[in-house]
Amino acid sequence: MTDRAKAKYRSQMKILADMLEAIESEGGRALPTRIMFRANLSYDRLERYLSDLVQLGLVEELRDGDKVAYGLTGKGVNYLVEFRRVVDFAKAFGIPI
């Protein structure tokens, strides 16, 4: 893999954290399309990762008629806080996440 390709690679955990951050930046609940754009994902990957986040209990489905939004759970907020700490720790040791 070239350096350029390596630099673009995002781990699954980073993608999940990006999605949680996307929901957080929308005020704690967001529509799937907003999450998709903010987390820079294709629709297929969005669906897959959203289902992972729901299964992990990090986000919850919020239905309002036909519309489905996703909201951060308490566990999701805690994970995001921990993720940011870990990123800072890794950065302090010169390891990019």
Binding site: S11, Q12, M13, K14, A17, Y79, V81, E82, F83, R85, V86, V87, D88, F89, A90, K91, A92, F93, G94, I95, P96, I97
Partner: protein
């Protein structure tokens, strides 16, 4: 009984080993959160270094408490465990920064150094110092990019640990410098602890 300065040396090494183990444990927690392989190398590195130092401390305390300082073979074995663990730990650190080439080069250098048995411990320190220079060069480049306080503390910590490995080498010229080794290393580990506390206690 061992002289007071020797015991001070032991307690300083005990404190360094505890900080090393704490950093290693936090790195494991970090690895479990983000699954980044470099963090696993960081975790293994600090756990190995911390365990090696703690082993030497426990052996020294045992020898002092039981007044069996004449058991030189046990002391030498503890020293060897310490030197091998620091070497393995720093190799792991080099791997954390992607330095596979460096890692291989240092293993080769170590094998060559084993042939030179007149001052084997000095060779260990020399190779440790080279590995730490590689680690510090990576930390300098990442500090230039981000300039955070935690990064500065980590960089200062590794520079002090590097300086501590230089002491046995400089002691050839000026022997009293050898006594500074543990103190400088402790200062380095405390700097790493400051970085860890800054990050872990952040809300």
């Amino acid at each position: 009984m061992a002289p007071t300065w020797a015991l001070l040396d032991v307690w300083m090494e005990a404190a360094s080993s505890i900080v090393g183990l704490l950093v290693g444990i936090y790195a494991l927690k970090a690895y479990r959160t983000v699954r980044e392989r470099s963090l696993l190398y960081l975790n293994t590195s600090f756990l190995v270094i911390g365990s090696g130092m703690l082993t030497r401390v426990l052996v020294l305390v045992y020898l002092v408490v039981t007044q069996r300082l004449q058991l030189r073979i046990l002391l030498q074995a503890a020293n060897l465990i310490y030197l091998l663990s620091t070497l393995a730990g720093y190799l792991m650190l080099a791997l954390a920064y992607g330095g596979r080439g460096w890692g291989k080069a240092m293993i080769a250098a170590q094998l060559v150094s084993l042939l030179e048995m007149s001052r084997p411990f000095l060779f260990f320190h020399l190779i440790d110092a080279f590995l730490l220079i590689y680690v510090c060069s990576n930390l300098v480049s990442s500090y230039i990019t981000d300039r955070s306080r935690a990064q500065l503390a980590v960089l200062a910590g590794f520079l002090l640990i590097l300086a501590s490995h230089a002491m046995p080498l400089l002691a050839i010229v000026y022997p009293p410098l050898l006594f500074l080794e543990a103190a400088i290393r402790l200062a380095g580990f405390l700097s790493l602890f400051m970085a860890l506390a800054t990050v872990a206690l952040r809300r």
